[in-house]
Amino acid sequence: MAVPDLEVAKPGWEAGALYDTFKTNAGIVSARVDRAADNTEAALKIKEIILQTGAKKVVAAPSPLVDSLLPDDLWAAGTGPALHRKDLRRHAPDAGVGISAFDLAIVETGTLVQDATNLDCRLVSTLPPVHVALVPTDRIVPTLQDALELYGRDPDGLPPYLAFISGPSRTADIERVLTIGVHGPSELYIIFIDRPGGETV
């Protein structure tokens, strides 16, 4: 999952303030945002979410960050839901939770950005009703313009499938009543990780 060589931080951007504002804005579009100091804490939070949903099956799109957070022995054999990282076309449709890593977060709109060229990224973030998104905290940019400028620097390096996600899926097609969760997930959890050990950023 080649993230273009993004130089994310600009002078004057302060991760803490960016995170706080992101949390507010993503909250407005019904995403739930949390922050973990390191991978260990993040793994605990993920486990909590999974237990809360009561999912029997979890799918994760492989990436260095996801792999380092979710070891195969996340649960002692037989004590937790099945975790699948392969053959996701078969497993994602009836999984309760999907997990994937993201490349950027945009403060202004509470948006996550992901190079979703890898099919697994799309399967786990579209099919299960709950999606858990992981983002390194130092990957927050202020605006959509900033994000597109980063990707636009190298037009030849644009990934075939670049996904922007702001909150869970939604509709207002019946009587204009906002309803969360249509074809995509109805719940989106975002976990920022301050020191993502396994990921080379």
Binding site: A116, L144, L162, F164, R170, I174
Partner: protein
């Protein structure tokens, strides 16, 4: 569509309570939520950027299409350039056949609706499933979307429950969350088995061959992810040059369309991404992009209509349209609806098919304020109107009137005078129909005012004579004026001897007038004394416009009084005639050009420093349209521009003079009344006047109470209220409700058309506690 069928559709729509309730509530909510969505963005800055990006792209459409095709192909997509709808359909059908496709999932795409793709594929035996919730509802019940962004806005949850129950064979309750779940479950099965996904795109980036899709439900992501074959149908107007050009469009589209900062999903596709088949084995993903022309290059080569290619399909122009709010999209009869729909239909379906739907436009110009692509929709529709009229021709009486009567002022005014007299026994019938803008009207509408017994021009004769007398006394008469008015007088008397004598027989009125005149003279003499002494006063030339001249002369008289008291000399050049705007509306711009030349000459002779008209439409004509009309004749255009420079609105001038201190402040008795102000569409949107009338009302001591949606049209629209009386009446009704909410006993307007409409409505409602009056009248009363 025939005239009768559109009128039938309008009646059906107006009697559909669901539709009207839903659209009406939406219209109100939309304004608020949209504004909230833009709270951290400068809308005007954004629309400037979009207009620049899109007009630049439209100007180089072919070049960008080639570049896009090459870049997308380089990244593995197959690009097909479809010149016609038929070519696009055939390409997609053949492809689907070759790949043995049985089930197709579609995410919402206007372009595929434009080419009626579903029907075509279904006829070939394929199952085509719309997966956008609103589109699916519409598909299941065999209707057409009624709105570009909210296709099923006209339906209730109960109706949707009925439709879904039929589809699933399960009795479903009218619970929205449950219905959405049913859609998810049912459509999920289709996604998982479909062999082909068809989508549209909101932006196509030439530099990188990227397609950008803006969606909310997640069906767009599934459509482009699960089936191993993807076809995107993309109109050429979606092209932009650079990747970064997508930014302002992505910033404006969600805010304008759905009042969101950004939609849940934005998907950027640059060449095919990996896919697997239904069994999970990796397959080569195929991505086909059908670049659709279907009339777009023709639009691009049109100097006026190329602007329509800037459209980003946000549907704001529908949401704020007072007519759309009442009738919804079905009445428009084609895929694209509302203001932009009229223009697009003309190009995609032929000019003749746009004839009826463009006539639904009131001309209130509200859409112009909201368009994030900065398209001058009113201008496009106006031009469309002219072209349609020129193609279908004027009716015989219209042609006769416009070409023979309107261009011959003395004949025109002579007829009006004759009508004024002739109306006497039939005043109820409302002989205002003799005025030019009533030409297009057919229906019979009641409660119209009668023609005035004495037109403003005749009152002014007497007034000018008095002025001249006074001046002669002081030895300061302007000879030219006297000569002018004497000549005119003779002419008028000769031609109108019969009507004049009749008017004179109504002694009652005359006595009243004389008394008023005397009182007024005394006052102005006093005023003059306190003014600048012998220093020449600025000269304001009054351009009355037909409505004020012949129906509401009291408006003009009030203006004269106020202007006098703020230190102006007022002249009424008698050779002035109709501004010609109605002729242009009827599709005869050459008639307007002819009267423009006449008015120009008359006002040049008058030597006015300012030219004022009580009618915003006339002001707009004199100020903005006359210079346009004389393009191609530099000498004439320079003269028109010189005149345009002097034209201003009454409130604008008076307020400016007072504020600058160049004129003595208005000495007004305090009005001490609750007053509300209605913005005339042309005054606000063609001339940008909103502050000045309000400030003047406050100066007069009025307690100004804003009504909700003060700038929403009253439904007059020139001849509109005769052509579509039911629509006009409904819009008027909404306006009157807003007025009533203020609790004000007086509604001030600065447009004689609005005045006529509001008075008509108040009368029909039997509303005695509210009075509609012209701003100048209100001020003059407090002098």
């Amino acid at each position: 569509m025939s005239d009768t069928s559109i009128k039938g559709d309008i009646r059906a729509a107006l009697s559909n309570e669901n539709l009207r309730g839903a659209l009406g509530r939406f219209a109100d909510d939309y304004l608020e939520s949209r504004q909230a969505a833009y709270r951290n963005k400068d809308f005007n800055d954004l629309r400037d950027k979009i207009a620049e990006i899109k007009s630049r792209a439209a100007g180089r459409m072919e070049e960008l299409a080639e570049r896009f095709a090459a870049e997308a192909a380089r990244r593995g997509a197959k690009v097909f350039r479809a010149e016609t709808a038929g070519q696009a359909r055939d390409y997609i059908l053949n492809l689907a056949r070759e790949r043995g496709v049985k089930t197709i999932v579609k995410s919402k795409s206007m372009a595929s609706e434009e080419i009626h793709l579903n029907r075509y594929l279904a006829e070939a035996g394929m199952e085509v499933v719309e997966t956008d919730l609103g589109e699916w509802i519409i598909q299941l019940c065999g209707q057409r979307p009624s709105h570009m962004v909210l296709p099923a806005i006209h339906m209730t949850r109960g109706q949707v429950a009925g439709i879904f129950s039929r589809e699933t064979g399960e009795e479903l309750p009218p619970e929205i969350s449950r219905l959405v779940k049913v859609a998810r479950e049912n459509l999920r099965q289709k996604f998982l088995k479909a062999e082909l996904g068809i989508s549209g795109a909101n932006i196509a980036v030439a530099e990188t061959g990227t397609l950008v899709m803006v969606t909310n439900e997640g069906n767009g992501r599934l459509t482009t992810t699960l089936p191993p074959l993807h076809v995107a149908v993309v109109g050429l107007e979606k092209l932009v040059e650079r990747f970064i050009d997508a930014v302002p469009i992505l910033e404006a589209l969600p805010r304008s369309a759905t009042s969101q900062q950004l939609t849940s999903y934005v998907t950027m596709l640059t060449g095919p991404a990996p896919a697997v088949d239904a069994s999970g084995s990796p397959v080569q993903k195929e991505m086909h992009i059908v670049l659709l022309n279907n009339g777009r290059t023709e639009m691009q080569s049109d100097p006026v209509f190329k602007e329509a290619l800037q459209c980003i399909r946000c549907a704001s122009c529908l949401n704020v349209c007072p007519v759309f709010q009442l009738v919804g999209g079905h009445v428009f009869g084609y895929v694209y609806t509302g203001s932009i729909g009229s223009v697009l239909t003309a190009f995609f379906n032929g000019l003749e098919n746009a004839a009826e739907i463009q006539s639904l436009c009131l001309g209130c110009q509200r859409c112009k304020d909201f368009c994030p692509a900065k398209i001058n929709l009113p201008r496009l529709i106006n031009d469309l109107r002219t072209r349609i009229a020129q193609q279908s021709g004027l009716s015989l009486p219209q042609r006769l009137f416009l070409k023979k009567v309107l261009t011959n002022r003395s004949l025109f005014h002579g007829l009006l005078r004759a009508a004024a007299v002739g109306q006497k026994p039939f005043v109820k019938e409302g002989t205002v129909r003799h005025l030019p803008f009533f030409l297009a009207g057919q229906a019979s509408v009641r409660n119209l005012p009668a023609l005035a017994e004495e037109p403003l021009r005749n009152w002014f004769n007497r007034y000018a004579a008095r002025e001249a007398e006074e001046k002669a006394g002081k030895g300061a008469a302007r000879e030219a004026d006297k000569r002018d008015s004497k000549q005119e007088n003779n002419q008028e008397t000769r031609k109108e001897s019969k009507p004049q004598s009749k008017v004179e027989s109504t002694t009652e009125n005359k006595a009243g007038d004389a008394a008023e005149g005397a009182a007024y003279r005394a006052k102005t003499e006093k005023e003059a004394g306190r003014k600048t002494g012998s220093k020449a006063r600025p000269r304001a030339g009054l351009f009355a416009g037909c409505l004020t001249d012949f129906i509401y002369p009291e408006i003009g008289i009030s203006m004269v009084k106020v202007l006098e008291s703020t230190g102006f000399e007022v002249v009424f050049p008698r050779g002035q005639t109709c501004c010609g705007y109605p002729a242009r509306q009827l599709g005869a711009p050459e008639v307007m050009a002819e009267v423009a030349r006449q008015n120009l000459a008359v006002f040049e002779d008058a030597g006015a420093d300012y030219i004022l008209t009580p009618c915003p439409t006339c002001t707009h004509a004199l100020k903005n349209i006359y210079p346009e009309l004389s393009a191609g004749d530099p000498a004439l255009q320079a003269r028109a521009a010189a005149m345009a420079g002097k034209v201003c609105d009454f409130a604008e001038l008076v307020y400016r003079q007072i504020k600058d201190g160049t004129a003595p402040g208005l000495r007004l008795k305090a009005l001490n009344k609750k007053v509300t102000y209605h913005d005339s569409c042309h005054l606000k949107r063609s001339l940008g006047i909103t502050l000045e009338p309000r400030e003047l009302l406050k100066t007069a001591g009025a307690k100004l109470v804003e009504m909700p949606y003060a700038d929403r049209c009253c439904g007059f629209g020139g001849s509109y209220f005769l052509k579509y009386p039911e629509l006009s009446a409904q819009i008027l009704d909404q306006k009157l409700d807003c007025i009533r909410k203020t609790g004000a006993g007086l509604v001030a307007v600065e447009c004689p058309g609005c005045l006529m409409q509001l008075r008509k409505g108040l009368k029909e409602r039997g509303e005695k506690a509210v009075e509609a009056r012209f701003l100048a009248e209100i001020l003059a009363d407090q002098l």
